[in-house]
Symmetry: C3
Subunit: 360 residues, 3 copies
């Protein structure tokens, strides 16, 4: 029976592991009890800068090449491990969506130029899809302003069908609302339309197409629209600010336009408080489960809740935004994924809506 | 670069729009910056009374006649515009579901007669489906009583299969609960069953079939059951009271039995407070997104929340009811739809779960 | 018109029911107005002990033998009634999932031995599926400890593919988190792995496979992990404690591994307070609707809410746990089911995610 006391050790009938219980307990207190974790932790904390030109991983996690029943368990495990290793190595795609867009100033107006065009977008290493984008990325650039700012969006349509931009959740005058034939004419191919309004309501919002929207948003015409409050003390304190935009059409199940292992991990130092802004631009719910640490939910659709509450799984429905704080009180590589398991793992390993919060 | 300063104007390479920025800003302050909006606003505010006998619109939004790839963008836009115009014109169906049913009095008992029968129900202009109904409409009539009232439902089954009525969310004695073989025998074709109980718990409830219910509720055997509180001050103040019952089986994606453009807009005057009661009788979630204005969520399943909260997207799961208040502080035609975009728009324009809140 | 005043009585044109209204009102005050209910109430209150060896019901609720259109309404009603009768008779399967597992003690450590193996699992009477289980049941045994306990899970893998156990919602050191290639190597067939940690955060949690998890959790590798608080006064008071684990893959729509009519009813005495712990291990949402009585929602994912609230339909997304209290203030057999109706009833009667709260 003594073999059962070896916490964290694999004990097989053939090759009993002789690591002492004490060494594992020591490891446990650091949250890095076995070598594979320590290596991953070290590797991932340096991986937010992508690696252009890295060789493409051929494995397609969401499109199994052979029925699982024909794999041995060792072959299956090897595919799972390859996915984790590719994630550790930075996911190996050269592009990033949801990157900050610096406005140009026209007097006191913050001007953001958005050009709609089609690009080939790399969802996972070597897997390219046709995306319809703002400024060439899926999601489009992050627009971030401060409550009270006057904001101008100059939208040029280089697609081959009409479009329009709806500032989702942002309280704008009606004629800036972006609904063709209701608040404006559609922006036809080759045309430019100018939206201008004062950013009144702070919080985590979005912008996306409101014309042929099932297709256009699905194809990638979406982005984050964040309005910082004038009084930052109205939000809980935090050290780091991450946004996760979910989509489930073009490119499958994605966070910020990437599927695992190309998803970027969230990194933090022990003791930091991380704000996460969830935004669902897909057609399905995505209950976001963080391992190991609770999430303090404090805002819904940009509006602070009268009483924040704790949970570990935040269900995000299409169109919703939720803001949470995670207190990074325990080191380690914490899996972080949609808990609709079929959006996250199959016989060939993890894919789609999977990332990690890495606390070092 | 000057062309970019023309807020709200389309700027094309071929036909530059010369409207000055000032005129658009002036329009913006009214929320009616461009002609198409003003016309829609004027038209829609008078359209709650349907137009019997109006010519049917031939366009079927949810059943595209040709693949989108074969349309030019102008053809696509024309179809989108036709949907909006049909909505402005009143949707052109002659019937309305969810209409108040005046009770007859038997002493102090409020008696509601409900007859189950099949009808041909017009979901959008010219598109008829077989609906199973209470009193000939889908949803059935709205039952509205006051807390403490004694209520009698006299249900006659003129269908060709058995049925039963469950007062969903209403706290009734067990033998009035409407579950065949558990609390009562089924009501067989040709039979009548009488439900009677005191309306104890105020709020937004429902009534629907609880026999072969996936089919029978899907087919239309459903309605709103609203119990007004004795003390109206327990709810937030409001000027107008709207109910939106969602279904996603018979007739596709519907609000109160109609798909866009036959859905009725909600209308209000600037400054009014509108109460909206969401009720989901379908099989899917429907996150209800209102443009431009936040929703104050104050009751769930008829029970007032200890602390109301704000959001712009209210996710309504099957069987749930949510009550919200919208403060109509900004004029305009505000799109209002399920944010599962595939329930609301396709290549041929908006359809299904789309309506508008029109504030004038 | 007098026939309409016979509350609770079926009135047919051919065989008028002559029961007086007074007798039904008397019945109503007891919530047991008609004989079928009284019998069910009596029968069900004694049915939690299953009946081994009972003859299997041949009727397959979720697999209709003939199109509904070919049934008469009497034939359809007979199938519905047969389901209710089978439920009353105890569901007639010999096994139960989610049963308490008594730990063995190693010093002050509570040790739970879990063996992964495949079994034939009876979902409804006579319907067997291949389940992947912990200790031979689907769900696996309930693990219940107290905040501050040191817990050891000794997991032996007798399956033919690798696995790992994730303590979902439990705050553990990272190397005890159960994610292969991230926090540990996979547990290969024939191997044993030992998890050990202090149970820090009280509440309703779960344990399940985190390797090839869509399949493995779907197949049954899941169970409840409940941590009682040291200070029981932090939770609302309750007399009875039930857990409902939902799954929607293996065996269809199940509560604790059984589909209706094999689901176990919840029983209580009038005036008791019942705690229900909902846990969703499936891929779909399941809005749990209780008839007749509201649910006080007081905890989410094991974390007590700052302000509990009332409702009658608790939407449970994959990975979520919700804790509620039901005050059993009204006697009767209260239907209790997922309100996605297609998870609960078809032409052949109720099936899947249906049970009852029986208050006597």
């Amino acid at each position: 029976v003594t073999q059962f006391t070896k916490k964290g050790a694999i004990v097989s009938d053939k090759t009993p592991n002789t690591t002492s219980r004490r060494s594992f307990l020591r490891g446990a207190s650091l949250g890095v009890g076995i070598p594979v974790v320590g290596g991953l932790l070290a590797a991932c904390t340096q991986q937010l800068a992508p690696t252009p030109g890295a060789p493409a991983v051929q494995m397609q996690h969401e499109e199994p090449a052979a029925p699982a029943g024909q794999m041995t368990f060792d072959e299956m495990d090897a595919m799972h491990e390859a996915g984790i290793k590719a994630f550790v190595a930075g996911g190996q795609t050269a592009t990033l969506g949801n990157q900050p867009l610096e406005p140009r100033l026209d007097g006191n107006v913050k001007v953001f130029d958005l050009v709609c065009s089609k690009v080939q977008w790399e969802v996972t290493a070597g897997k390219f899809i046709e995306a319809w984008t703002y400024n060439g990325t899926m999601p489009g650039p992050e627009i971030r302003v401060t409550e009270g700012d006057t904001v101008r969006l100059v939208v040029t349509n280089n697609l081959d069908e009409s479009t329009a931009v709806h500032p989702h959740g942002v309280m704008v005058p009606n004629n800036m609302d972006g609904v063709p034939f209701v608040t404006q004419p559609p922006i036809k191919p080759g045309e430019t339309f100018v939206y201008e309004f004062v950013a009144k309501n702070p919080g985590s919002h979005m912008y996306h197409s409101h014309h042929n929207s099932t297709k256009q948003v699905g194809k990638g015409l979406l982005g984050a629209f964040i309005i910082e409050p004038k009084n930052k003390a109205q939000d809980p304190a935090y050290d780091l600010d991450y946004t996760i935009i979910m989509n489930d059409q073009n490119g499958g199940f994605t966070f910020n336009g990437k599927g695992f292992p190309a998803t970027a991990p969230l990194t933090a130092k022990l003791g930091q408080k991380v704000r996460i802004r969830y935004m669902n631009e897909g057609l399905l719910i995505h209950p976001m489960h963080l391992h190991g640490l609770p999430q303090l939910v404090f805002a819904r659709d940009g509006w602070n809740l009268p009483q924040p509450y704790m949970c570990d799984t935040v269900n995000v429905a299409p169109g919703e935004r939720w803001d949470v704080i995670v207190d990074c009180s325990e080191p380690g590589v914490w899996a972080f994924h949609c808990h609709v398991l079929s959006h996250a793992e199959n016989d060939h390993g993890m894919f789609g809506m999977v990332t990690a919060l890495i606390i070092s």
